[in-house]
C-alpha cells in the first residue's frame, strides 16, 4: 500500500502542489475579502474560474496526447453564441439546445483531430487555422454580443448547493466524472496517454493511434462547449469574442497544474487547480488594491515559477546529454 501511495504521489506530486498553492491562495483571498468567508463569496470565486477550468480540462486531454488545441477558445465562443440562440424555452427545448451545443463542440473537436490525423498537420498550425474558422462562424451566428439564455438554469449552475458548496464546482466535477473519468479508465484513455508518451511505441503495440488522437481532440471540444455553456449561464448572452484570452490561459492552467506539454502524462484535477489559481490571482489583485493592469505581470510570474519548478530536475543532472532527453 505504501509503495502504491509512493508511486501515486510521485506521478501526481505537481498536481498535488497546485492544489496546496490554490488552498493557500483561497484562504488568503477569503481572509482579505471585505465580506469574509461566506458561501456567496465562495460561489462568486468559483464562478470566476469555472469556465477556464472546463477549458483547462479539455486542453489537458489534448496535451496528454502530445497535441495542443489553439482553437479551444474559439470553440468556447462559438458554442456560447449557439447557446444564446438555442438554450431557451421549455424543458424539452432546453435539453435539445444543450445537446446541440455540446454536439457542436464535439464536432469542432473531431474536425481538429481529423485535420491533425488525416492532414498530418502539426497541431499548433492545424488548430490555429480551425480556430479562426470557428471564430468566423461565431461572428456569423452572432455578430454583436447579445441573445438570451435561460435564467433558471443560470441560477442553478452559478449559485450554491444547499448553502454548502458552489454549484459551479459541483457541475464541473460531475461533468468531469461523467465525460473523462470513464474514458481515463478505459482502453481509449490509455491509448491517448500512450500516443502522447511515444507514438511510435503505440503504433508498434497495435493501438489505434489515429482514433486516440481524434478522441482526445473531440473530448477537448466537448469540454470547450461546457465552458461556452457555462459562460452563457454567467452572462446570460452570447459573445463571439469571449474566447480570445481563454486559449493561452487554458495552456497556462495546464502547465501550472503540473502537466508537461510533452505529453504522455497529465492530471485533469491539477489543471482545474491551475485554472482556479490563475483566476484567484486576478481576484486577489482586485481586493489588495494593486493596480489591475499588473494582473498579467503576476500571472506571468506564476506561470514562470510553475515551469521553473518543473525544470528543477535539470539542475541535478550532471551529464549534459541527459538534459536534452
Amino acid at each position: 500500500m505504501t509503495a502504491f501511495l509512493d508511486i501515486h504521489l510521485r506521478r501526481n506530486n505537481r498536481a498535488l502542489l497546485a492544489w496546496l498553492v490554490l488552498g493557500g491562495l483561497l484562504v488568503y483571498f477569503l481572509h482579505i475579502h471585505p465580506r469574509g468567508a461566506s458561501i456567496g463569496v465562495l460561489s462568486a470565486w468559483a464562478n470566476q474560474g469555472t469556465a477556464l477550468a472546463f477549458l483547462a480540462v479539455g486542453q489537458t486531454i489534448v496535451v496528454m496526447s502530445r497535441g495542443v488545441d489553439l482553437s479551444i477558445g474559439p470553440i468556447m465562443a462559438l458554442t456560447n453564441c449557439l447557446a444564446s440562440h438555442l438554450v431557451n424555452g421549455g424543458p424539452l427545448e432546453l435539453a435539445f439546445g444543450i445537446a446541440i451545443v455540446v454536439l457542436a463542440g464535439a464536432v469542432c473537436g473531431a474536425i481538429n483531430g481529423i485535420v491533425v490525423v488525416v492532414g498530418k498537420i502539426q497541431p499548433i498550425i492545424a488548430t490555429l487555422a480551425t480556430g479562426a474558422i470557428y471564430s468566423g462562424f461565431a461572428l456569423i451566428i452572432r455578430p454583436i454580443p447579445g441573445g438570451s439564455i435561460d435564467e433558471t438554469l443560470s441560477e442553478l449552475t452559478t449559485g450554491d448547493l444547499a448553502g454548502i458548496l458552489p454549484s459551479s464546482i459541483v457541475v464541473l466535477l460531475v461533468l468531469v466524472c461523467l465525460f473523462w473519468l470513464p474514458v481515463s479508465k478505459a482502453s481509449l484513455g490509455r491509448s491517448i496517454v500512450a500516443v502522447g508518451s511515444s507514438e511510435q511505441a503505440a503504433y508498434m503495440s497495435g493501438l489505434k493511434v489515429d482514433r486516440a488522437k481524434i478522441a482526445a481532440y473531440t473530448l477537448g471540444g466537448i469540454f470547450a462547449s461546457f465552458s461556452g455553456l457555462f459562460i452563457g449561464f454567467q452572462t446570460l448572452s452570447g459573445d463571439p469574442s469571449i474566447g480570445l484570452p481563454y486559449t493561452l490561459n487554458s495552456i497556462a492552467a495546464v502547465v501550472i497544474g503540473g502537466t508537461a506539454l510533452t505529453g504522455g502524462a497529465g492530471s485533469v484535477l491539477g489543471s482545474i487547480a491551475g485554472a482556479l489559481i490563475l483566476r484567484t490571482i486576478g481576484s486577489l489583485i482586485f481586493f489588495t488594491g494593486l493596480p489591475p493592469l499588473a494582473q498579467p505581470l503576476f500571472e506571468g510570474t506564476v506561470l514562470l515559477v510553475a515551469v521553473a519548478f518543473g525544470a528543477t530536475r535539470l539542475l541535478r543532472i550532471n551529464n549534459r546529454l541527459e538534459v536534452f532527453q
Partner: protein, 524 residues
C-alpha cells in the same frame, strides 16, 4: 494443413526503399513448433522481412500465406489479430505507463463495465513475469521510463508473450538482456516451441543461435541465400554465407614498435559522482587504447568526461600537456584540443537522420568551411567527396537523407563527420555495435591507418574480441576504476573476463570458472 508443414510462407516478396532493394523476390517458409533463426549482415534484409511480417511496412509485391490463406497486414494491429507478434528492441514500450499497463496494453483485462480492471491487470502482468522466470525485482506498478534498459527489454518480451502468439518474431530481442536473464528467456522460447508456436529468431550472437535454433536461414543483400538444419554447417561456413566471400583476416596487424611521443591525453585521478572513482590513464599519438569491462562500469563516463560533457568532475585531464578546459564538444574541436567524440547512439546523438549525407558530413565543420559566415559551397563539395571516398560510404549521392542508409554506412558518416575536423584525439563509444562484419573490418583498418598517421584513439567496446584484435592496450574497468591494464600476450579473453569481474589474474581456479562462463555468454 498438417503439423510440421509450412505454417507461414512468403512467395516472391519484394520491398524497395528509395531505390535500394531491401527484399528481392524472397521465398521463405517456417513451420509450427520450431525455432527458426534468421542470420545475415546488417542491410541483408532481416529487419525488413520482420517488418513486413509484423505489418509495420507493406511489401511492394509478393504474397504472405498463413496456414495456407493469403493475408495482408495494414498495420501491427492487423498482424497481431492474426497471431503474429513481434518483439522489437524496446521499441513498443510506452515510457510513461507502468510495467503492468505496458504488458497488458494490447488487450487489457476489462471489468463488467468495459473499463480496465487494474487488479486483474497487475495479477496478469505479475503472472507473465513469473512464468518468464526473470521478472523478479520488477514492480509491475513502476513506470517503464524509470527501469534500466535490460528490465525494459524483459517487459517488451512479456508484452508479446501475453498475447499468446502463433508466430513470435524476435529481432535482436536478447541483446539488451543481462547474462542471467538470457537463459530463462531461452527456456521460455523452447517451451513455446514445444506448445506449437512458430518462432523466428534474429540475432547476431552465434552461440545463442546454436543453442536455440532448429533451422537457420541466411539472408544476404535482400535475398534468401540458404536454409539448413541447425548444426549442419560450421561457424565458418555460416559466416561465409553471410558475407558471400571468405573472410580474410578481420583485424589489421598491430605495429611492432611502441609509440614514444609524449602522451597527448593524460588523466589523473578523474572522479565524477559515484560513477568514476579515480581513473588515471595516458594515451600517446599513434596508440589505440581500448576501454572494456561489464556494462556500466564507468567506460562511457570516462569518454564523456574527457569530451567535457559531464559537469562537476574532479581530477586533472591534460590534453597535449595543457590542462583541458571543459567546454563540451563545441570547445573540444577547437585548435587547442582537437578532440572528436563518436557518441554511443548514432541515431539520436550522432546523426540528423532526416538531413542529407552532405549536411551531416559538414555540420561540425561549418565554421571552418565558411568565409564571412557564408558556407563555401565548392569547398564543402570537395570535402564531402573526400570523406565519402575515404570511408567508402555507399550512397547514390550526397543529397539523400542519411536515415535511408544502412546502419554500417550511417556509422561511417558519423566517423567521417568527425574525421573531417582533423582531430588529434578520437574518442569512440562502441562504434561497431550492430554493424555487419564487412563494415567492421573496414572501420578497423581505417582506425589503424589513422593511428599510424599519429591519431590517438580511445576505444570503448562491449565486444572483447575487438579489444583483443584491434587495441594496443586495453584498460578493463570495474566499479568506476581501471581494474587492470592489459597488453601484448596478457591481452587475452581470460584476463579481460577476470578483470571485468574484478578477480585477480593468477586466481583462475575453480571459483572463477563458473562466473567466467556466464560472463562469456553475456559479452559475446
Amino acid at each position: 494443413m498438417t503439423e510440421g508443414s509450412s505454417f507461414l510462407a512468403l512467395t516472391d516478396v519484394t520491398k524497395t526503399y528509395g531505390g535500394v532493394n531491401a527484399l528481392k523476390s524472397v521465398c521463405f517458409e517456417a513451420r509450427r513448433g520450431s525455432i527458426h533463426a534468421i542470420l545475415g549482415e546488417n542491410g541483408a534484409g532481416k529487419s525488413t522481412l520482420m517488418k513486413v511480417l509484423a505489418g509495420v511496412t507493406q511489401p511492394d509485391s509478393g504474397a504472405i500465406r498463413l496456414q495456407g490463406d493469403n493475408v495482408t497486414f495494414a498495420n501491427p494491429a492487423d498482424a497481431a489479430a492474426k497471431g503474429i507478434v513481434c518483439i522489437f528492441q524496446e521499441l513498443s514500450i510506452i515510457p510513461d505507463l507502468s510495467v503492468a499497463e505496458n504488458i497488458c496494453l494490447t488487450q487489457p483485462p476489462k471489468t463488467a463495465f468495459g473499463l480496465i480492471d487494474r487488479k486483474a491487470q497487475d495479477r496478469l502482468a505479475a503472472r507473465v513475469l513469473k512464468q518468464m522466470g526473470c521478472g523478479e525485482g520488477i514492480d509491475t506498478r513502476s513506470r517503464c521510463a524509470d527501469l534500466p534498459l535490460s528490465k525494459r527489454q524483459i517487459v517488451e518480451i512479456a508484452k508479446a508473450i501475453v498475447q499468446k502468439p502463433d508466430v513470435l518474431i524476435l529481432d535482436e530481442a536478447t541483446s539488451a538482456l543481462t547474462a542471467s536473464d538470457v537463459g530463462p528467456v531461452m527456456d521460455l522460447l523452447r517451451r513455446m516451441r514445444d506448445d506449437g508456436a512458430c518462432i523466428l529468431f534474429i540475432s547476431h550472437r552465434m552461440h545463442e543461435i546454436e543453442a536455440l535454433a532448429d533451422t537457420c536461414s541466411v539472408f544476404r543483400n535482400g535475398e534468401h541465400v540458404s536454409t539448413f538444419a541447425s548444426g549442419a554447417k560450421t561457424h565458418d561456413e555460416i559466416v561465409q554465407l553471410m558475407i558471400g566471400k571468405p573472410i580474410s583476416q578481420v583485424y589489421p596487424d598491430k605495429p611492432a614498435e611502441v609509440p614514444v611521443a609524449p602522451p597527448y591525453l593524460d588523466i589523473h585521478d578523474l572522479r565524477w559522482g559515484d560513477q568514476l572513482k579515480g581513473v588515471s590513464l595516458s594515451l600517446r599519438p599513434g596508440e589505440i587504447v581500448g576501454l572494456g569491462g561489464l556494462d556500466g562500469q564507468g567506460q562511457q563516463e570516462v569518454l564523456l568526461a574527457i569530451a567535457g560533457v559531464l559537469r562537476g568532475t574532479t581530477g586533472t585531464v591534460r590534453i597535449n600537456g595543457r590542462p583541458a578546459v571543459h567546454r563540451g564538444p563545441k570547445g573540444g574541436k577547437g585548435s587547442d584540443m582537437r578532440i572528436a567524440l563518436i557518441p554511443e547512439d548514432r541515431k539520436t546523438q550522432g546523426l540528423f537522420l532526416s538531413l542529407s549525407v552532405r549536411d551531416n558530413l559538414t555540420v561540425s565543420m561549418l565554421d571552418r568551411l565558411s568565409r564571412y559566415a557564408v558556407v563555401d559551397r565548392p569547398g564543402e563539395k570537395a570535402l564531402v567527396g573526400r570523406m565519402i571516398d575515404l570511408l567508402k560510404i555507399k550512397t547514390d549521392n550526397a543529397d539523400v537523407a542519411v536515415g535511408t542508409l544502412s546502419g554500417g554506412n550511417q556509422q561511417k558518416v558519423v566517423l567521417a563527420k568527425w574525421l573531417a575536423t582533423d582531430p588529434k584525439l578520437l574518442l569512440l563509444m562502441d562504434p561497431t555495435r550492430g554493424i555487419d562484419v564487412g563494415t567492421k573490418q573496414e572501420i578497423y583498418r581505417l582506425l589503424r591507418r589513422l593511428a599510424g598517421d599519429g591519431l590517438a584513439i580511445l576505444f570503448h567496446s562491449t565486444d572483447y574480441d575487438e579489444l583483443i584484435g584491434l587495441c594496443d592496450r586495453a584498460l578493463i574497468m570495474y566499479d568506476g576504476r581501471v581494474a587492470s591494464t592489459l597488453s601484448g600476450p596478457s591481452l587475452n579473453e581470460h584476463n579481460i573476463l577476470s578483470s571485468a569481474l574484478n578477480l585477480s589474474h593468477d586466481n583462475s581456479g575453480r571459483e572463477t570458472a563458473a562466473p567466467t562462463a556466464a560472463l562469456a555468454e553475456g559479452l559475446a
